[in-house]
Every structure is written in C-alpha cells, then in structure tokens.
Amino acid sequence: MSLAGASPAPASGAVHVSLRGVSRIYPGRAAQPALHALGPIDLDLAPGEFFAVVGPSGCGKSTLLDVMAGLATVSAGSITFEGRSVNGAVPDGVGVVFQEDASFPWLTVTDNVAFGLREIGTPEATVKEKVSYALNFMGLGDFTQAYPAQLSGGMRQRVCIARTLVLEPRLILLDEPFGALDQQTRLLMGDELLRLWRETGATVLLITHALDEATMLADRVGVMSARPGRFLELVKTGWPRERDSTIVADSRFGQLTSRIWTLLRAESLRAMGHSRIAR
C-alpha cells in the first residue's frame, strides 16, 4: 500500500497549470485603501513539476496560492488547470496545505486525516488502510487517537499534510508546510515529500521561506519581488528526478542558493522599507 495511484497528469500538452497576467487587488474598506497584493504574473507549470516559491514576507505568496487553488478570484488575467479555467472555485484534483494550522480540534488525528476521504465516500476499509499508511509515513503513528490540542505545532501541520496527501491530488499547493519544524525534521520531511512527489507524479507548488529548502527540493525556484509580488526570475536547478537532501553537499547547491539570495536580499530590504541600504 502506498500513496501512489493518482491518475497521471492528463495529456493537455506540456502545461498542467497556466497563469496569464494574473493580478489580485484586495478592495479597500472604510479607512483601508485598496491593496495591490499580487502580479501581474505569468507562469506555466509542467505536469509533474516541482516548483518552489520564495519571496519577502507579505509579497503575496499566500495570495498566489489562493488564486491558483480557486479560493480567491483574480482581479485581472486568467488561470487554467488541466485546460479548464479556474476562477473562484476549487477544481477537482487540487490539494492545499495552508500556512495556518487547519487541523480540526474536534476530531482525533485519525479522523482528521480520514476527513476528506470520507467526504468523497471512500469505503471505510480503504480509509483505514490509507490513513494508517499516511500516519506512519508522517511519523504520527503513536498519536492516532490524540486530539490536535495534544500535539505540537509541527505535528499538527503534518496532520494537515497527511489529510491532503491521502486524497492523492494531481496538483498540491503547500504554504510553508514545514515552517514549524526544526531543521533536521524539515530536511527529512523534504525527503519524504520528494519521494511522494516521485511516486504520485503530482505537480507541486511549495511556498517556503527557507532558501536551502527551495533549492534542494524544486526543479525551478520562482523568486518573487516585494509586494505586489511578481516573479523576478525563475531559477532552474537542473536536479535529476531521483534526488534527496544529500544534494546539499553538491557544489552547485551553494551556487544556486547564493544566486537566489542575491535576488532576494534587495527585495527583502525593500519590503522592509530599507530601500537605501540595498544596492
């Protein structure tokens, strides 16, 4: 039993997800003026691609995830997933792990992870099998009957990851899923994510603030500007599909990470309002 088995990406050319001129403006309210949070953005994700997004805090990364998932409407531009337009409704086959803790406090770990499967009417025997596999996979095997309140922040985030992965989405959007983890666990979870990505053939978009994580995991790293977030550069890593955290020792790893940092440094300073320090 494994989490593999997501239907392979459909033959809609070489593009799985496509964004054209996508912007999002939060409308103003009372004393709050309208806020241009994102874009314009053009982006094509190939089927089965692992794409990472890095950018200064508040640049619109979570907003990008929202519009791609169909959780928010675009203010301009268009998004297609598997050839169909996405705007304000979540398409079938998309899984999201949010930046905030979204585990349901009224359900045990097991029932949390089983929630989506039960929702689509999966037979209970299959639910059991998939959930127990996912829980062991996520290192939650000893906490199946615990409530989220009894878990650490990182463990709760893993519950949310498991809840999304058991549904075998074809597009997985993750918003800083390892934010609450220590560096060692983060690297190991990264390995697991890579393994899962290979097994399922899913397209992955990972938002992260850890540059080494982005470099190590992704096929391409999108470096975003300060708000309104646009892609300054899409950095190709060129890693083989079979890879794991040991590539941090590769000489190109340092070069790539430092390239991304150079791009980001100026933007991060700008985002914090220190435009004169940055050169």
Partner: protein, 243 residues
C-alpha cells in the same frame, strides 16, 4: 472539578450556612438540618408533586423554546457578517433590559397560567443563547471553512461537519447560561402569573412568612439547578479542552 473538590465545596457551604444560622438566629435563617428535614417532608407530601410537575413542565417548554429560537437567531445572524454586526449590539441592549418590565405585556398577551410563565422563562433564555451562538459562528477560524472549500464540500455538508462542530463549544456555553436564566425566568413567571408551581408556592410561603417552606423550596431548587449545571459544565469543559 474533581468529585472530592465538589464534596468539599458542599461541606463548606453547609458549614457557612450553619454558622450564619447561629449568628442571625432561627427566625431569619433556619439551620441546614431543619431545612433538609422540611425539604424531605415536602417531597413526601403528595400535594407537592403536581406543583413540581407543573414547574418542570413549564421549564422544559421554556427551555426548549429558548434553545430553538435562540439558536435559530444566533446561527442565522452569525452566518451573515453584516447582519451579525448590526444585530449584536441590539441583542446586548435587549439582554440588559430588566425582563420584569416586559411582564405586564406578557400577562396581557397570554393571561395568567402556563403560557405566560413559559413565555417569561423563554425570554430570559433566548438572548444569551443567541448571543453566544452568534459569536460562536462569527469567531470560527476561517481556515476551517477554506479547508471545506478545498474539499469541495456542499454548503450543507460544510455546515454540518465543520461549522457546527467548530462552533459547538461556545454554543454549549450559551446553552448553559441560558439554562440558569430560563429557570429563574420560569420561577419568576410562576410567582406573578400562576396558581400552581414551585414559584407560586414560594410566593405564598413568602406572603405567609413561612420560613420553613421558603427555605425548603429554595434548597430543592438550588440542588436541581446545581446538578444540571454541573452536568452542562462538564460537557462544556470537555468540548473546550479540545479546542
């Protein structure tokens, strides 16, 4: 609270009662033992049971109505942000009106008897239950609802499986507060607008200065309220401990 703590608390209350009794004298305050004996005598009196039945019936109806209307108002207003923003201050204002001022109106509408005291009990409970339910819905973590959207749940399904369970702990707190206030309202209703029931008995005992009866009735009511409240409180704690 552990069973041992509860027992200790009861002992302290009874001891304080006894000490008070020694200080203020037998005319103003009967001793715990005498009161308990009178309460038992009341329970043994067949004439008492129809009154008790009447009160429990009125209270049950009032509480059911308060829950029904209160949850309906709270949940519907909570579901719409704007309606909730407008309605909350109005509900709070209503809550702070002394309900007794509404009493003549209710008597005019319902006359003396069962419907009047049910109505009086219910109006005490509706507002707190609806305020708590309203805030329970409004304060739900939005990421839970977004999770429902990603799972492409229907609004009905998301309400049943996410909205309600997420709001339940706060709703139960409201029901607990509503329970106590509805009981008080029902008894007040019986005092002013009924020929039967514990509230009526209490008022009669008061006009006749029958201290034994007053204290015995009060003891029985306190015990009833404390038992139900303890049960609701433990449910409340259980739900909140997971949140």
């Amino acid at each position: 609270m552990k069973a041992r703590d509860s027992l200790l608390l009861i002992l302290i209350v009874v001891a304080a009662w006894q000490v008070f009794h020694w200080i203020v004298g037998d005319i103003a305050l009967r001793s715990p033992l005498v009161t308990a004996r009178h309460a038992l005598a009341l329970l043994a009196d067949p004439g008492f049971w129809p009154h008790l039945r009447e009160t429990l019936l009125a209270f049950a109806e009032a509480f059911a109505i308060a829950m029904g209307i209160g949850l309906f108002i709270g949940l519907t207003l909570g579901a719409s942000r704007l309606a909730g923003d407008v309605a909350e201050p109005i509900l709070v204002a209503l809550y702070s009106i002394p309900k007794v001022t509404l009493y003549p109106v209710i008597l005019l509408i319902f006359g003396i008897g069962m419907p009047a005291k049910v109505a009086f009990g219910a109006i005490h409970g509706i507002v707190p239950i609806s305020i708590f339910a309203l805030n329970a819905i409004r304060n739900i973590n939005p990421v839970y609802l977004r999770t429902g959207q990603v799972l492409r749940m229907s609004p009905l399904s998301a309400t049943r499986k996410i909205l309600i369970p997420a709001a339940l702990p706060e709703i139960v707190t409201g029901i607990r507060v509503g329970f106590s206030l509805t009981l008080i309202g029902t008894l007040l209703g019986e005092m002013f607008g009924a020929q039967r029931g514990l509230g009526h008995m209490l008022l009669q005992a008061m006009t006749r200065h029958n201290m034994d009866a007053i204290m015995a009735l009060t003891l029985l009511l306190v015990v009833f309220a404390a038992v139900v409240n303890a049960a609701l409180l433990s449910l409340d704690r259980h739900l909140h401990s997971r949140a």
